[in-house]
Symmetry: C2
Subunit: 262 residues, 2 copies
DNA sequence: CGTTGCTTTGAACTAGCTCAAGACCTGTGG
DNA sequence: CCACAGGTCTTGAGCTAGTTCAAAGCAACG
């Protein structure tokens, strides 16, 4: 991908992610290396940032899965996004420090907290890094737009397919796809709160997709026997993810990078 | 709002908008003043930027209304956002130059195009302006999240209410509310593509709301007899708009600023 | 006046919901 | 080793919010 790999192993996923959406020069790499990290492990279900809270750091996901969620006054819950290693799901808090939703660990995850002050110092020193981080938050927004379209315009099968397609592509960029599938820790109820339907209905949709051999969700793992069919049902067009590698996600996405064995 | 008013009349709405979401110093004001503008009038229905196109300028809305829209492969259409004077709806194209949706004039509108190169120069010279523009795009994203919640979790009456609440608040910030209402150029079909239901159903919802005297949409104009009731139905919480004036939108929002008579 | 675009109405239909119960699995404590 | 509790998945059956199709009413405009 890029010439300069980070010395710190924790930063590999971030580096891969940033390289997939922009150019990471040696100088930018250096600026990133210099960021003071506070490593932490977050247990499944634990909040990292709460709705309404004012935060002074952002959170880089190293390993595991996070999601953003908002509970409505009527007891509903909408999951707003799902995050994979290399993501900084609350980077927006840099300029919007009061959270308007919660960030939660989907499974036990390793994260690195980075103080806003340190990020600001780094991006002031490196304008290209400022722009790349900004771009990252803009792609985030593009993803919201894609989810709005899925929620507003498509039926439940297409919605489920869209979410799985997007995850497949994003996980493949950071080398988390194996055997045509990936670990998927959400319950069917959680998935219902992603796609805006009832858990019962999600169950029936998943059964149908399983029967059609399009996608199999079993034992917290998604297997995709037919990428073509899945993509077709979702009408999935990965352009909105704005990866530099144009072809990413149109054919069955190949893992772009392999994580080193622990 | 702020001490320093722009000398150029075109920039009033922008200045008001920026002041409502952040601090605009004299120096920032100067940097904005220096931006070369290309003024233009766009006819109703005309695209300003097309899905898939690569753009090299952004568009400041001076007067009128714009909306972002995406047409799906199955012939569906989702309206992603509605824009009021002072907005720069495609500011994101600064770092995401390939459009993943279209920007269209809802009615005949006056706009000012600003070249990306000029914006980049201005925000490089003024880091606070960089941050304020970034913040603007982040609030945009927050709005998408709010719409996702409305689409995923609420019934059609709440959806319609939400959209009207948000518009009411945002228009009030730039002084476009009069007689407890505002001009609303969307047809019922357009509104259906905002809230993700059929036009027929929007019609019935509007009739019900009219009967309950919550909101009256007639002759391209929205009148809100009961802000309290409207807000209640939408469960509208304007915190996500991240206005500095905390109270904006909780009580019936007062026009924050009055446009000068032409 | 005739066309065009928007709104309104009716009536049949359906995707997805709710409620409720049973099956299954995993971990915990006795 | 068993029993039980709690979470998840599955199934059935009746219900409802919203859809589709088609037609009619109503402006505004040339």
């Amino acid at each position: 991908m890029s010439e300069v790999l980070p010395r710190r192993a924790e930063l590999l996923a971030l580096h891969t992610k940033l390289s997939s959406i922009g150019t990471v020069t040696a100088q930018m790499s250096l600026a990133i290396e210099g960021l003071p990290l506070r490593l932490a492990t977050v247990a499944k279900g634990e909040p990292i940032a709460r709705d309404g809270e004012v935060v002074h750091h952002s959170c880089l996901l190293l390993e595991g899965m996070l999601h953003r969620t908002k509970t409505t006054a009527n007891g509903g819950r909408q999951i707003l996004s799902i995050h994979v290693p290399g993501d900084i799901p609350d980077l927006h808090s840099l300029h919007l420090s009061k959270m308007d939703h919660s960030l939660v660990a989907t499974i036990q995850s390793n994260v690195a907290f980075i103080a806003h002050a340190d990020i600001k110092k780094a991006i002031t020193q490196s304008p290209p890094l400022n722009d790349l981080f900004w771009r990252e938050t803009l792609i985030d927004a593009a993803s919201f737009r894609a989810w709005m379209i899925m929620l507003g315009q498509t039926d439940s099968m297409a919605r489920v397919s869209h979410v799985l397609c997007e995850l497949y592509v994003r996980l493949s960029m950071v080398g988390r796809i194996s055997d045509n599938g990936f670990d998927f820790p959400l319950t069917q109820s959680d998935l219902a709160d992603v796609v805006g339907t009832s858990p019962v209905h999600v169950n029936r949709v998943l059964q149908k997709m399983r029967a059609l051999n399009i996608v199999v969700l079993e034992d917290r793992r998604v297997t995709v026997p037919s990428w073509h069919a899945l993509r077709e049902i979702a009408q999935f067009e990965p352009a909105y993810l704005h990866y530099l590698n144009q072809k990413a996600g149109i054919e069955r996405p190949k893992p772009q990078w392999m994580p080193p064995k622990a």
